[in-house]
Symmetry: C2
DNA sequence: CCATTGATGTCATATACTGACATCAATGTA
DNA sequence: TACATTGATGTCAGTATATGACATCAATGG
């Protein structure tokens, strides 16, 4: 018999989600979360740096997946197409949108959670920019393409989760990309030559 | 004789900046800031919702200025051009970049301050999107153009404050816009530095 | 002359978070 | 077997942020 029940981390996440639903985010203390999970407040802070973080556990995985998808894109793919391709690939593996509804409601209602959400996206943006630089895209193009990708993802995700009629997240992403190209005044065909200036030197995937 | 020294708010801001420089952000308590400003901790929290906010006092003005500039743009101006025009106009009125250096260093070194910075930009993005909607731009185009504008501003501001050679902030903004157009596939050109001052980047050959 | 206002102070308290140290089953190892 | 080590957890004390309730008192205006 194990000394402790397993999955302490998951128990904390579940307890937190339940309690946030039942009583709201600010009227739930970390101590209450820990108690429901059969642990103590001190242990909560060993798993999560702060109270907000319990809602953002898996954000690192996404980062890794997207960066890999970008690295794997053909060398001829343009920066933004590589980014959006990576986003689509990651999005295809997302759980059904109903799993995000409660969480998104919480975030929308609490600025401190929005802040955390935003910094996770900023971190994702940095990872994407880095993946582009490895492909030979120079600054500030890499950062701008990354930020554009994040903008696309934000709007697509928002509409996917919140929209009335269910539409595929990858489809939302493609739609947002097309719309961005319209508002930026882009007229060129979607797939163009790589704008990288070091195309020939990129690593062979 | 007035009952209290005037400019309590500014005194708090100045005291905070001084102390953050002297001892670092986390080793400065709100009580110390208040004391240096000749006030009490409680009064600090009457002027600022939290400790971070003391570094973000004027962000509301920017929002208003940009929104107005967008509303004032000719009806024929494209959404993104209207946004960037607004940003340029606001940027032209910025204090010299050395006034931002210390603050940006602080923010860069403290995730909690980055979070606050990001949510201010998100708020600016919402205001811009709203101004575009008033102009008749529909969703998701309005939000995407707004986010694209923020992306441009972020990169331009970063390079303006941190860059080695001083280059006009409006010029940085125009350069970032040109680069974004390249990277979204608006023009097919390499990501070379555009040395021309005002014109958009053309295909170099 | 007096009531009101408003910026500030005082005090009490909740909650988030951290450091230091204790506990003790499991696990390895002489 | 005996014993040292490890690692997840608990206990406890403390600090800092943030908020509510109430007090103060010069200035202001009728």
């Amino acid at each position: 018999m194990a000394r402790w029940e397993p999955n302490a981390r998951n128990r904390l996440v579940d307890a937190a989600l339940e309690l946030f639903q039942e009583r709201g985010y600010d009227r739930t203390t970390v101590g209450e979360i820990a108690t429901r999970a059969g642990l103590t407040e001190r242990t909560f802070f060993r798993y999560f740096a702060d109270k907000r973080e319990v809602l953002f556990g898996r954000s690192g995985d996404l980062e890794k997946g997207i960066a890999e998808a970008i690295s794997g894109a053909p060398a001829t793919t343009s920066p933004l197409d590589a980014v959006v391709g990576g986003l689509e690939a990651a999005a295809a593996a997302f759980p059904p949108r109903r799993d995000y509804r409660a969480r998104q409601r919480l975030i929308a209602a609490h600025p401190e959670l929005q802040e955390r959400d935003l910094i996770k996206l900023a971190s994702l943006s940095s990872a994407i920019a880095e993946a582009l630089r490895v492909r030979g895209v120079s600054e500030p193009g890499a950062s701008l393409a990354a930020e554009a990708g994040i903008a696309i993802f934000k709007i697509a995700f928002e509409r996917w989760v919140g929209g009335a009629q269910p539409r595929d997240l990858p489809a939302q992403i493609r739609a947002a990309l097309a719309e961005l190209r319209i508002v930026t005044g882009s007229t060129a065909a979607p797939t163009r030559r790589n704008t990288s200036k070091k195309t020939g030197t990129r690593a062979a995937d």
